[in-house]
């Protein structure tokens, strides 16, 4: 393969769990793909449909939304709202002919450093397999 595709993935991570887990992964010296650009949010419930769409519009190959485990959201139901919105965005993408797998939600706790590394790797692998976004901004 001539050019190796380095995906650009935005990772919206909630402060209380996902971001903390990412931090922990870092302190544990676990490596995870550097193509995940982490954006801290107070809660995944803060993320709306437009944020995810804008990321795709601006050329992101993938968007990862990582929040607390269901039932353990710091703000109680923020991650459940995010789940619905991610599902909605995936439906829009499907309707306009973009692979819905480019947008994924994950749930984990702040203690799960290795899990963060795992999901980041999984996300990067998925996007590498699908290929670059056909949306050029």
């Amino acid at each position: 393969m001539a050019d190796k595709f380095e995906p650009q993935i935005i990772g919206f991570c909630c402060k209380y769990c996902a971001y903390a887990a990412a931090d922990l992964a870092g302190s544990m010296r676990l490596s995870y793909p550097s193509c995940i650009k982490i954006v801290q949010v107070p809660c995944t419930g803060r993320i709306d449909v437009i944020h995810i769409l804008k990321a795709i519009e601006e050329g992101a190959d993938g968007v990862m939304v990582a929040g607390c485990l269901e039932g353990e959201c710091h703000f109680l139901t923020g991650n459940l709202k995010a789940k619905k919105r991610v599902k909605y965005v995936r439906k829009i993408l499907e309707d306009i002919g973009i692979e819905p797998e480019r947008v994924v939600m994950f749930n984990l706790s702040s203690a799960m450093g290795p899990r963060f590394a795992e999901i980041a790797t999984e996300m990067a692998d998925t996007i590498k397999k699908i290929g670059p976004s056909r949306v050029r901004s």
């Binding site: 804008k54 519009e57 829009i92 309707d95 306009i96 002919g97 056909r134 050029r136």
Partner: protein, 224 residues
């Protein structure tokens, strides 16, 4: 309130394909409240359409604007100076707004982005249900405040029909039987005897069948 629902994006794409410069025009009233065509929905739709056309390699200019209402001249005038910069306007207002905008900008193609569904209320976030059919001669005083025309699938004036089952309509088990609701309410109001009053044959000419309708209040009209 007028309740509308977003049109499937595939349908919208078909309609806007031929236009290079598109203005998505939202409305800050009913369609905002029913989350179908307000500023937020304009943004979502604009982004989705841009993503689609970029992927297809088609150049398009897709702009966003939301007016206070599209059913009043004054608000529609606000886009007078920019309307000719677009090849078409994709209006997310209800059918009224789309038409009124089309009347004011009659050389600009107007495309509806929502399906206008009914007059209804917000039962809970994300759920809107029909309440009124705009029949033009309201009988709610006689039916305990529940309308058999909009809430009964057969609009029977002396119901329930024989298909009412456990308080639900024969066409859909999740749909309340309007006449069960009316009877329950009459009972709660201590007026169950009113049930036997025969509702007279309805005057339908004030409804759609009588032709397009008009309301005038001469006392508030400005011109002579």
């Amino acid at each position: 309130m007028i309740i509308a629902e977003k049109k499937p994006i595939g349908e919208i794409i078909q309609e806007v394909k031929g236009y290079k410069r598109l203005l998505i025009l939202g409305c800050n009233e009913c369609v905002t409240v029913c989350e179908a065509g307000g500023r937020k929905e304009v943004g979502t739709l604009a982004s989705a359409l841009r993503i689609y056309f970029m992927k297809e390699g088609v150049e398009k200019q897709i702009d966003e604007r939301t007016l206070e209402r599209q059913c009043d001249h004054e608000y529609l005038e606000e886009i007078r100076d920019i309307a000719d910069q677009y090849d078409a306007i994709l209006s997310l207002a209800c059918g009224v707004g789309v038409q009124f905008t089309a009347e004011k900008y009659h050389t600009t193609p107007l495309i509806p982005g929502v399906n206008t569904c009914f007059l209804g209320a917000n039962e809970q976030r994300g759920v809107w249900t029909e309440r009124c059919q705009a029949c033009g001669s309201c009988i709610l005083a006689r039916t305990g405040g529940i309308c058999p025309i909009s809430r009964c699938a057969k609009r029977v004036m002396n119901g329930p029909c024989g298909g009412s089952s456990k308080g639900k309509c024969e066409i859909n088990k999740e749909l309340d039987c309007a006449w069960q609701l009316i009877i329950d309410r009459l009972r709660d109001l201590g007026r169950l005897d009113d049930y036997e009053i025969v509702a007279p044959i309805k005057e339908w000419s004030t409804e759609r069948s009588g032709g397009p309708r008009k309301v005038v209040r001469a006392d508030v009209q400005v011109s002579a």
